[in-house]
């Protein structure tokens, strides 16, 4: 990233998305923002705060309370040449729209043999750690990554949130944009004149030699804490922020694992059939002779997301990840 005449501002992740949406609405008249309560309220997390005021009800659209309708009409708007960015209010409420996403949004481009594009972004605040009630803390990314035709991304910090949203909106493919809701209030520098990395490329956020930690979205920050703690014990962990779940940047993971020879994948979603499974399977295939230990996974359990008072037990935390690191290093 160029360091000259930088226009960098410190802002929270939610605000970075807000600024990114604002820029998109400003520069492309075809961009629309749609969803429940995105207008005057600015969304329950205020991510769309002020946008309706500035761009009008025709561009920033409060929709009826029906997720299938939101995505289904966004598909129609995309067919008409618009670029809708739709908000699903919480992770657990994307399922009424799942049919439209899987059978229509994901397949329309292929079905038309490339004649129609589907530049639709589906924003989903996801993950736990905010003490919410049921359906407000889930991480369903694997359910989208398995579906061809979709792209699935998740930023971990304000700068990525800003730029990945720009790129998602510019993409002619549907992008499921998972926003780490418990990091909405975390601040970071955003340089709105930077040249961003490609959307689907992973980033080494910390170099290390003993073991690779792979994460995305809310778990990247945790992994940094883990690496700090491990460093105190003399262990050098490399951290890869995947940023994209579909496609997965296996090349970057492979490069890191060929160096460290050990891999631990961390996500909030249940381990069973989660991203970690795919990463473990493919990296083991690619790095069979490099791995000193099996790829270990730290994630949610195979149980419905628990009530808030138990979520700290359910979610990967410092100790659980360190435990996996130790187990890996013990091989």
């Amino acid at each position: 990233m160029a360091a000259e005449h930088v226009t960098s501002t410190n802002m929270a992740l939610a605000k970075a998305i807000n600024e990114s949406l604002r820029r998109a609405l400003d520069t492309d008249p075809k961009v629309l923002v749609m969803g429940e309560d995105v207008g005057k309220l600015g969304g329950v997390f205020r991510v769309t705060d002020g946008l309706q005021k500035d761009f009008g009800e025709d561009r920033v659209i409060d929709t009826p309370l029906a997720e299938s309708g939101i995505v289904g009409t966004a598909i129609g708007l995309a067919l008409r040449g618009y670029r809708p960015v739709v908000e699903i209010q919480f992770d657990g409420f994307v399922f009424p729209a799942y049919d439209q996403i899987v059978t229509q949004l994901a397949k329309m481009h292929a079905r038309s043999l490339g004649k129609v594009k589907m530049p639709v972004v589906v924003r989903i605040p996801y993950g736990g750690g905010i003490g919410a009630v049921e359906h407000h803390s889930e991480s369903p990314e694997a359910l989208f990554a398995h579906v061809a035709g979709l792209k699935v991304v998740s930023p971990s910090n304000p700068s990525d949130a800003y730029w990945m949203m720009q790129q998602a909106i510019q993409s002619d493919d549907p992008v499921i944009f998972f926003e780490p809701k418990r990091r909405y209030w975390d601040k970071g520098e955003v340089n709105t004149e930077a040249i961003p990395d490609p959307l689907h490329k992973a980033k080494v956020v910390r170099e290390g030699t003993d073991l690779t930690l792979v994460a995305y979205g809310p778990m990247v920050k945790l992994c940094k804490e883990v690496a700090d703690a491990a460093a105190e014990e003399g262990k050098s962990l490399e951290i890869l922020d995947l940023r994209s779940v579909s496609p997965l940047d296996f090349d970057s993971i492979q490069a890191s694992v060929e160096k460290t020879r050990r891999l631990v994948v961390v996500h909030e979603a249940p381990v069973f059939f989660g991203s970690g499974a795919e990463i473990a399977a493919r990296i083991t295939e690619r790095c069979f002779y490099h791995l000193e230990a099996p790829v270990l996974r730290v994630g949610g359990y195979h149980a419905p997301y628990p009530p808030a008072r138990l979520e700290e037990e359910y979610l990967p935390g410092l100790d659980r990840v360190l435990d996996a690191v130790d187990r890996s290093l013990a091989y």
């Binding site: 429940e36 029906a66 009630v133």
Partner: protein, 382 residues
């Protein structure tokens, strides 16, 4: 081919400003906001034999429900609850419909039916578990024929319909009532529940509390005609009742339940009411609605209305109101204490109840979790 013509179209009316093509919808009302009893040829008979004691009972229900609700709101502010969804303003719709039910009827609530829960005899503190974050549903649905709160908007209307289909199969003459909001009316599931219940002639009452708002969206974002009219296109009647009138809510629900019991199938009741508070304790209504609106609705307060009637008709004396005040305070205290004493669940509860018949992976994960916990010297985790 590209679309070129851009002329000729009349300027579109922005949605929400569009007026209903029909005339002003009929609103069933038995008590005016001033507490005057008005006659209604169709529905009077459902409350004809109501006693002063029962009227005081309705009043007591509403007052205690409001007291409980206020206590919950303040417990949330004190950090004892993570969230609270207040029913403030909707007491009459809930108590009126709730008291219309028979014990063997079955209720499918949203997350706001604290007043109905009260009528069913669900201990109010049980409602608080999910809002405190100690469980995702803390009572036995079959204990009081009151299903768990459902958060995914509209889902429960299909459960109610299926349950009602089962009631019909059993040859029972009980009825089922499904609560939902004005926002929920847009969900496909609600429409499908209308279709299924009509086709199978299921004994279910759809009770829509139109409290004018779905979080920040006014009802005009969901429909351009009054919601009760939705039913006729599915082949069953819909009626709009003054949801701030407990007597009317009671009468209309009784009528609808009777229809269900006697094999007439589903009915839609739209209770026209108002969410006087925020959507939940996380919400800030000042972002999207004017104070004056709330003030206008305060004049129609459901509790005040019945109190005026009780006083004017001499159905209740000072002693009653004073006693109720005491009872109210006691309820608040009891709830407060019960919530504060509510223990956090054991960490192993994570793995419980995921399955009824067990699942090998859950067993494996539980064992790993136990070993992990045991690995800490303090035996307590970090």
């Amino acid at each position: 081919m590209t679309v070129e013509s851009t002329a000729a179209r009349k300027p579109r009316r922005s949605a929400g400003t569009r007026k209903s093509p029909s005339t002003k919808p009929e609103l069933v009302q038995l008590l005016t906001p001033e507490g005057k009893r008005v006659k209604n040829a169709e529905y009077d008979k459902y409350v004809a034999d109501i006693t002063p004691e029962e009227l005081r009972g309705l009043y007591r229900d509403m007052v205690l429900t409001r007291r409980f609700d206020a206590e919950a709101t303040s417990l949330q502010r004190q950090g004892e609850l993570g969230l609270w969804a207040s029913l403030l303003g909707q007491e009459a719709a809930q108590i009126g419909s709730g008291r219309a039910l028979r014990d063997d009827d079955y209720v499918f609530p949203t997350y706001r039916e604290h007043g109905v829960a009260w009528c069913r005899g669900v201990d109010p503190t049980n409602l608080l578990g999910m809002f405190r974050g100690v469980n995702n549903g803390g009572w036995d649905p079959n204990g009081n024929n009151f299903h768990l709160y459902t958060i995914v908007i509209g889902s429960q209307t299909l459960h109610a319909t299926g349950y009602a289909m089962g009631v019909a199969k059993d040859g029972a003459d009980s009825a089922v009532i499904a609560y939902f909001g004005d926002g929920a009316s847009s969900q496909g599931d609600v429409a499908e529940s209308f279709t299924f219940s009509a086709v199978y002639n299921a004994p279910v009452v759809f009770f829509c509390q139109n409290n004018q708002w779905a979080i920040s969206e006014p009802t005009e974002r969901q429909t351009r005609v009054p919601l009760y009219q939705r039913a006729q296109g599915f082949g069953f009647p819909g009626v709009r009742v003054d949801g701030n009138d407990v007597l009317a809510s009671l009468a209309v629900t009784k009528w609808a339940l009777e229809r269900a019991r006697s094999g007439e199938g589903p009915t839609l009741v739209e209770a026209y009411t108002y969410r006087m508070g925020a959507h939940t304790t996380s919400d800030d209504p000042s972002k999207y609605r004017a104070d004056e609106e709330r003030e206008a609705w305060e004049a129609k307060d459901p509790i005040l209305r019945l109190r005026r009637y009780l006083e004017a008709s001499n159905h209740a004396d000072e002693g009653f109101f004073a006693e109720l005040e005491t009872e109210s305070e006691a309820l608040g205290r009891r709830v407060r204490e019960a919530v504060r004493a509510m223990p956090d669940p054991d960490r192993f509860a994570l793995f419980e109840h995921a399955y009824a018949d067990g699942h090998a992976l859950v067993d494996e994960e539980r064992a790993e979790f136990a070993a992990y916990q045991a690995s800490f010297t303090d035996g307590e985790g970090a």
